[in-house]
């Protein structure tokens, strides 16, 4: 699996799916949700996020709703990987299911400042602050999860099973 190196958006604890995708936009296309993603905590996110950026966050990232638009919009905006101290369970699963790499790593938020560069190896579950600091070890994903991410999402596995048509 590829390794990621990207500029860090540092976010806090308990960042919920409503903040990533407000409820009033649940009937909207992803491009419209992208105009408002994270705006209540980081108003500049929309204008300044660049493809390849990574999110580093505190505990319980993506807690709350099952809305898949949350990981989808982050992926669509170019976020290459989300590393958090812990995740809301459904966000974590859905991110993997759509092929957005996620990594749980204890104490990771304290090792980064906003705008630092993070180097991440998802398969080895390691995270490093390129500006210096120790290699941090996160929780390894299972081989099944890694395969889903590598393939670009669980639908790709499904297509393979059905040969693309039934």
């Amino acid at each position: 699996m590829e390794q990621f190196q990207g500029r860090v958006w540092l976010l806090g604890d308990n960042l919920d799916t409503d903040v990533i995708c407000p409820g009033r936009l649940l009937d909207a296309p992803i491009e419209e949700i992208a105009e408002h993603a994270l705006e209540s905590v980081r108003p500049e996110f929309r204008a300044e996020v660049r493809p390849g950026d990574v999110i580093v966050a505190g505990g319980n990232f993506g807690c709350g709703s099952s809305r898949e638009q949350a990981p989808q919009v982050l992926k669509a905006m170019g976020i290459s990987c989300v590393v958090a101290e812990s995740f809301g369970r459904i966000f974590f699963r859905s991110a993997i299911a759509i092929g957005l790499p996620v990594l749980a790593c204890k104490d990771v938020a304290g090792a980064f400042a906003d705008g630092d560069t993070a180097s991440i190896d998802v398969e080895k579950a390691s995270v490093t602050n390129v500006a210096g600091g120790a290699v941090m070890s996160g929780e390894r994903l299972s081989p099944e999860m890694l395969e889903i991410i590598t393939r670009g999402g669980i639908l790709e596995l499904l297509k393979e099973k059905t040969g693309g048509a039934q």
Binding site: R89, R93, L155, T162, Q166
Partner: protein, 417 residues
Amino acid sequence: MAMTSAERILARASGRDTVAPGDYVTADIDKAMCNEGFAAVAMNLGAAGISKVFDPERVVVIMDHYVPPPTERAAMIQKIVRGAVSAFGLPNFYDGRYGVAHQVMMERGHALPGELIVGTDSHTCTYGALGAASCGIGFTEMAYALATGRLWFRVPETVRFHLEGDLPPLVMSKDVILKIAGDHGAEVAQYRAAEFSGTGAGAMTMASRMTISNMSMEIGAKFCFFETDARAEEFLHGLPVGGYDPLVFDESARVFAEYSLDLTSLEPQVALPHTVENVQPVSSLERTPIHQALLGSCTNGRLEDLQAAALLLKGRSVHPDVRMLVYPASWAVYRLAIDDGTLADLVDAGAIVMNPGCGPCFGSHGGLLAQDEACVASTNRNFIGRMGSDKAGVYLASPATVAASAAAGYIADPRDL
């Protein structure tokens, strides 16, 4: 070997004798619930070239979030759902008027003890009140589950909560789960299963148990369990259901952590904006004026919740500065609350009674907040912007506290009314 509820059900569903926390299993799904998210699920199925679901009888589609559709786009989503339900030939379809999906699943007998159930909604864990292992998943995973009838699960550890003694008058099961969130944090059951036991749990009605299992999501729980005791059997007795495996806890099974809560001394609790763990006893709160009081949702929109509010508001008036909205959790609840006069009492007090459904609970329609407004709500989430403006505040409380506050105009202790 002694197994927790989660281990027992996942072992059964994956065809193994035993499983242990941390194991990954691929398990057969007993039921799959979809709300309006079925529009996205169907699109994913189409993209993968799938035209059949694994077992149409095991799929339940219930529209609840956009009832009635507040926007043209929402109406379109519902239209897509109806088309997809018909294309996939799904017999268990509840179009908008039946109520919130979780309530409908329970009261129509679609959720049974011992089953493994997934749903496209985070509060699918509600069915644990009956002893089902149920949890929310996303649209892409649901497409996979509907196509194959299977899904991967990580066997969770279990956290046990012993609830002891009876709740004092005007203190409700909502106060219990808020107290737990306040004392132990929003991650006390993160990735884990929660088992609720003890005399306090046993004494609770099914409706009260459902409030706790619903909100177990807010303390991170993947599954939540109550035992299938006589009360649960009685609930199931009235439903058109066949056989099921009653869930009995094995107290000798190894759990990750245990907590005890003495219910006899519990006071009404409130979660302040913007997290569920920001909890205080209502009695210690500074006077907090409110502009909206919301009674309803899959957390607290059942008959006993409406009755508790009506009892307090009968002969009183909703404060002139407050709009009080009532969203019964289902059509069945609505109908019963008409028959026994509950809705009449609420309407006479000045409440606005709305249709069954999610209403403003997720911030899309039917009672949103302007900036600097505050709402006391019997719902389950008070995230920033959850109910309208991201500069508004949502306070989570029990139906009794919501009713007392609606009358007072500020967040009020129902015991003082």
